[in-house]
Symmetry: C2
Subunit: 425 residues, 2 copies
């Protein structure tokens, strides 16, 4: 008998890699924060012993969900302005509210609310873009979750930075501060082609290359954005970004709702990572990214909620269902983005986009123990014919019971272990 | 001080009629199963006293939700076959399973599971179509919920009936049995134009007129259905139904995903009730009903989940969000079907479609006390700027805390009062 830190016996384990695999009555063994074995429970009981044993007798154990696009502090603006198109929503509501209210305290409170919501709904990693990323990183550090925090860049002054140079230097200082953190990394995060000049995009690219980190940016969110670019730059935003050298396998391209044939071929050739945000794109009537087709052609497609101000939640369980429903109706093909594929998008594909797939995104020996357990013993998820299908189409976030990051339990039978729900509310 | 049966003090009351109204710190007063007053809590405390007082200090009280299209026993087939188009799904999976398994016991168990799920998610009334509607009616009677059960008609024999005449006579017998029931009524329920002959549709119409009840039918669910009708009847299904005299304000027309301009004008002229099932239509890639436009032009649009085999839940909270997101993206108009409008669809419009708006669908003095309370004191629904918006875009079914039908409490702080959850599972 080998003594190890934690052992989880589960009715079902879905490792995601290999795709579609469902292991019944299996156990996952954790030591020093890493997955060291996955084997039949019968064998696990003979081979391992631990003081921290979990019996998940009506649960599905999956990799922790990866939310590949968030603005976590905006949780404080959930429902501030709904039923409005993107530009009205941004220019008349969100940006004025941000100018008035955003400061370190706002960011700390909003991020806490967001992280509590994410852990409770099974998300263990998020890819964030907002002002005061240093505050976000502090909250991530304290709460035990995993994140990529963006070194934000935008062509107007904010409470966080007054100039391009200040955005860059503050981003760099943050990167250096957290460089050896096992759960936090950074990406360059120029907001969007329509809010960042060529010069500042080039500076972001240079800093990304120097630090060997990805670039996280909104691209082709709406047709308006494209029309504006044609007017101002005489080309579409993707062409402009390609000319600047930004398109490669370390680009995290969010939204991409309007893509002509040439652009689809271009991003395939360049192996760009696409982050699909179906609920936000629907709510703001932005457009539909052709993700079913691009996925079949080999593009890495991850999934994100966008902020709670345009969704209005950070629920990746719901986002998986929305992604497959939208793909089916928009292609008029009921087989589009099946349950197994959207589960990949919400886990391993997100990990790949964030350059973290060596550590997370699937349940494989040697990876970090970032896990999410869903209790299917509920009126709305019975009976069970196909666990992955049930997970995507019938389970909801309140069935998430237990969550671990690096083997540390952040949610235990539905209760946050590191955060005080009452105080956050 | 007037002594009454029940008084509910709520942080917010949303009566739905008038549209968009939000009453803060108000109380709803119930006596003998009916709403007898809605007034400011401060005044209510002086005017009424009751042994059954509820203090909902962080809740939104709304009319019980009306699910206008279900096949409740199919809850036992939840997730049986996913990621398939309608005809493959029906012909290769659902119909063979039904032929093999459907019997009174199957219907009783499936309906119990469905009703438990509906009550827990705030639905107080559902409009059902399935075999053995007498069994469904028994479960409805026993569990305290409200339903319209369909007198099913289909052109093939089933365990329920062997001929058209038997379908009609068994339906009639059921109608007569429950005629004086306050919570159960019937509708004629010919399955669809492609499964019921002209002769049998005429017989349904005749029985509906004699009994003064609505007709509940699937129409124009897919383009396939229309092409088949053009081949077999030389006209589109709606034209055929119009020729047979079925189109009027007592028709409950479900799906209607393919409607040309003439058909849209026709159903407006005939004041047909349209039941929109966005998640089912998306999942089966059936099509998109033009409900935003038709709603603006005055058509009564209700909302339904369809069965758990094509959704895969009976969650009207989620269906409201899906309805507005689908309307926004399909019209490329972020203002389409705003939160106030989808809440009408899920309540008063459903009541109108079922010819029950004199009793339910809104919180008005004199109506039956069919109510649903949602607790917004949760990480995923804070902060609150606009309660109706928050309800539709951020709240989820697990926040439904209390449900009443005819003033009788069926859900109390999240627990079913009339059903045994463990035994159902």
């Amino acid at each position: 008998m080998q003594k190890i830190d934690t052992i989880i016996h589960s009715a079902y384990i879905i490792p995601v890699v290999p795709k579609g695999q469902v292991l019944e009555q299996h156990s996952l063994v954790i030591d020093k924060g890493k997955i060291i074995d996955i084997l039949a429970t019968e064998q696990a009981r003979l081979a391992y012993q631990s003081d921290d044993t979990h019996q998940l007798s009506s649960h599905i154990l999956i990799p922790g969900l990866v939310n590949s696009h968030t603005h976590s502090p905006m949780n404080l603006m959930r429902g501030l302005a709904d039923d409005l198109p993107l530009m009205t929503w941004l220019q008349d509501h969100i940006w004025p509210a941000e100018a008035k209210y955003v400061n370190p305290e706002f960011v700390a409170h909003g991020t806490e609310l967001a992280i509590a919501e994410m852990i409770k709904s099974g998300t263990t990693t998020f890819n964030d873009m907002y002002f005061f990323p240093d505050i976000t990183a502090d909250v991530v550090d304290k709460t035990g979750v995993r994140a990529v925090v963006g070194q934000i860049m935008i062509d107007f002054p904010s409470a966080w930075a007054g100039s391009a140079q200040e955005y860059l230097s503050k981003g760099l200082a943050l990167h250096q501060k957290i460089e050896s953190h096992s759960r936090i990394s950074t990406a360059m995060a120029p907001h969007a082609p329509y809010t960042v000049s060529d010069e500042n995009l080039k500076a972001c690219l240079k800093q990304a290359e120097q630090l060997d980190i990805p670039i996280h940016i909104h691209i082709h969110e709406t047709d308006d954005e494209i029309q504006q670019s044609l007017k101002n730059f005489n080309c579409r935003p993707l062409t402009r970004l390609n000319n600047l050298g930004l398109l490669n396998n370390k680009l995290i391209a969010v939204h991409m709702t309007h893509l002509n044939d040439d652009e689809q071929q271009l991003i395939l050739d360049k192996k760009v990572n696409l982050v699909h945000c179906p609920e936000s794109n629907m709510k703001l009537a932005s457009g539909i990214s052709p993700v079913n087709d691009l996925n079949k052609r080999g593009l890495n497609i991850a999934l994100g909620t966008d902020s709670s101000a345009s969704n209005n939640d950070l629920d990746m369980m719901g986002e998986m269902k929305s992604a497959t429903l939208l793909a089916k109706i928009s292609t008029m093909d009921a087989t589009a983005l099946d349950a197994e594929t959207v589960l990949e998008m919400a886990t391993i594909n997100g990990a790949k986009a964030l350059q973290l797939d060596h550590k997370i995104g699937s349940l494989e020996i040697g990876k970090d123990a970032d896990l999410c357990a869903i209790n299917f013993d509920a009126i709305n998820s019975m009976p069970i014919y196909h666990p992955i299908s049930q997970l995507v189409y019938a389970c909801q976030k309140h069935q998430v019971s237990d969550v671990w990051v690096e083997g540390r339990q952040l949610l235990k039978q539905g209760q946050l272990t590191q955060m005080d729900t009452k105080q956050i509310l």
